[in-house]
Subunit: 369 residues, 2 copies
Amino acid sequence: MVTRFTQICSDGAARSGEFSTTHGVFETPNFMPVGTQATVKGVDSERLKELGAQIILVNTYHLWLRPGPEVVSALGGVHKFCAWQGPILSDSGGFQVFSLKDTRHLAEEGVEFKSYLDGAKYLLTPEKSIAIQEQLGVDIAMVLDECPAAGLSYDEVSRSLDLTIRWAQRSLAARKNKNMAVFGITQGGVFPELRARAAAQLSEMDFDGMAIGGVSVGEEKDKVHEVLSYHAAQLPQHKIRYLMGVGTPEDMVFAVKHGVDLFDCVIPTRAGRCGRAYVRGEQPYINLRNAKYQRDEDPLDLSCRCLACRNYSRAYISHLFRTREMLGPQLLSVHNLTHYQELMQAMRQAIRNHTFEDLYQHERQRWKL
Amino acid sequence: MVTRFTQICSDGAARSGEFSTTHGVFETPNFMPVGTQATVKGVDSERLKELGAQIILVNTYHLWLRPGPEVVSALGGVHKFCAWQGPILSDSGGFQVFSLKDTRHLAEEGVEFKSYLDGAKYLLTPEKSIAIQEQLGVDIAMVLDECPAAGLSYDEVSRSLDLTIRWAQRSLAARKNKNMAVFGITQGGVFPELRARAAAQLSEMDFDGMAIGGVSVGEEKDKVHEVLSYHAAQLPQHKIRYLMGVGTPEDMVFAVKHGVDLFDCVIPTRAGRCGRAYVRGEQPYINLRNAKYQRDEDPLDLSCRCLACRNYSRAYISHLFRTREMLGPQLLSVHNLTHYQELMQAMRQAIRNHTFEDLYQHERQRWKL
């Protein structure tokens, strides 16, 4: 295994480091904007770079069905396709397929499903997922795992974990391009023993990073935080730790405190499209649809220098949402992604300065954790 | 009257010049992107500047109803509101009100209508329109005119023109802020005598510019071109000539040939949102929804350096439209507006070089005029 992750400093369990890929290095802790269809909704790649993103995520499932990995490959790979020259991570496609509860069929070999586009049958296997991700040309691939729904019994989650482990082995064996990093994914629901077993068994395999799966699938926040509080420490120190699909600023600060390095989530763009702006100050976010912002001449956040804040007032953005103008979602997506990147930057700084606990307590107070 | 328009050079009837406002100078011929709700759909003000726009248009009707001119004024005026520090022209609001065929009532005083937002009754008069535009703080205001529908008789259009002339006088008399330019609007349908009378009567008044109204209201293209071919020459040489609501690149090239200086139209952004990109080359435009672009690795236009063309392939933009991603409309809006600005730049250059006829014949060939 190539050494890709280097921890540079730590502060308690929180750590800061760097991860190397063939498309450059990103710092940790870091947050990946989600480009489901190889586009971060409403944000072009120049703006994405300007706002501080260092790595983005794309969805294998969506790009598999449309335009197809062979098309992306013929066009020069996913970096050229979406004009993002930095690192790109793809998920395995499993999360989307498992969400098709009624139309998918699970077997040892893989999971069969029908395309929502034309009804055609597809079979997603661990080998197929790795092959698609290699064809897309991503820097970091995720293994196919089974993500059990919240609320299953210990035995059900344990059997599911066994399959996830076997699939992880098959995924690693399927990798042809050694320049592409592959991350394993732990499962085990909210059961400490299963989480421990997942960590131990996956740690024995030659993964370039470890991801924590199955903590953003409908459990209560308390349960999620409980898993995070012990599970990151079960993972190897020398590998990057990626918490999949999380989260809100409060969740991410909590996770970094417990040793997580990397995140992805649709929240900043999705919430932005709905009128929510994350801000500093006493209140952690505001909703621009609220009537009280109609005459507010301040920017979203006085300390922010993003496209939205350096040009426009809350009143104007409020007007854009009231008139359903697409610039509203565009501006709040840029603003929220900027806010997320600045939070990551602040956490990296705090870890270097050994002041992470202050940052954590400050955020905790704001969010009343 | 302050001298605002300076003709710098001409080539046949085509002319190039400059128009001064309190928010700076714009060159002519020029095209104004349309910011109906004080936002050019999908394009932020930084991109708008980058793509070469020198002046934009906003709609009095829409801003009157929402957020209201008093709100815009309290927030520092429309320039600050929409973060555009260059010149801004507003229409009178009349065009939108007259389009409410069933719910508006026309009288000598003005035109009464019901708000589509809350059903409240509004009365738009020449004086009210000027007052709203002054309150918005625009650089150039348009007078309220009656825009008769296509297909009316000579007598009907003549009576309508009489009202437009009386309203024009009232509009001029209503202006309080002499820094705000006011443009008169000619009507007269497709009747040369009425167009001539409109030009003559409005020329006697102290307008800062002359607009040609009522040529984008449903007549056939031939009729529109016929009016343009004689009407611009009926207007005073020393005033800017603005052709309202036009148009396609072919219409604009034809109009400049006959002495028009200024345009506005929703086409570049509206067509962009529907997948149409204006390009150079043999074909004047392409539609990115067309299957043949799915694997096309070229940019929209090889000679364009806009945000879309310097980053993305036709295949990628085609993928964005197929997946209904908002970045598709955003990119094509920027591209088409860039194309329009570059056409204006090319026309100004050709007039300076006395090669306008070559440019005209080239465009004529492409569009098979």
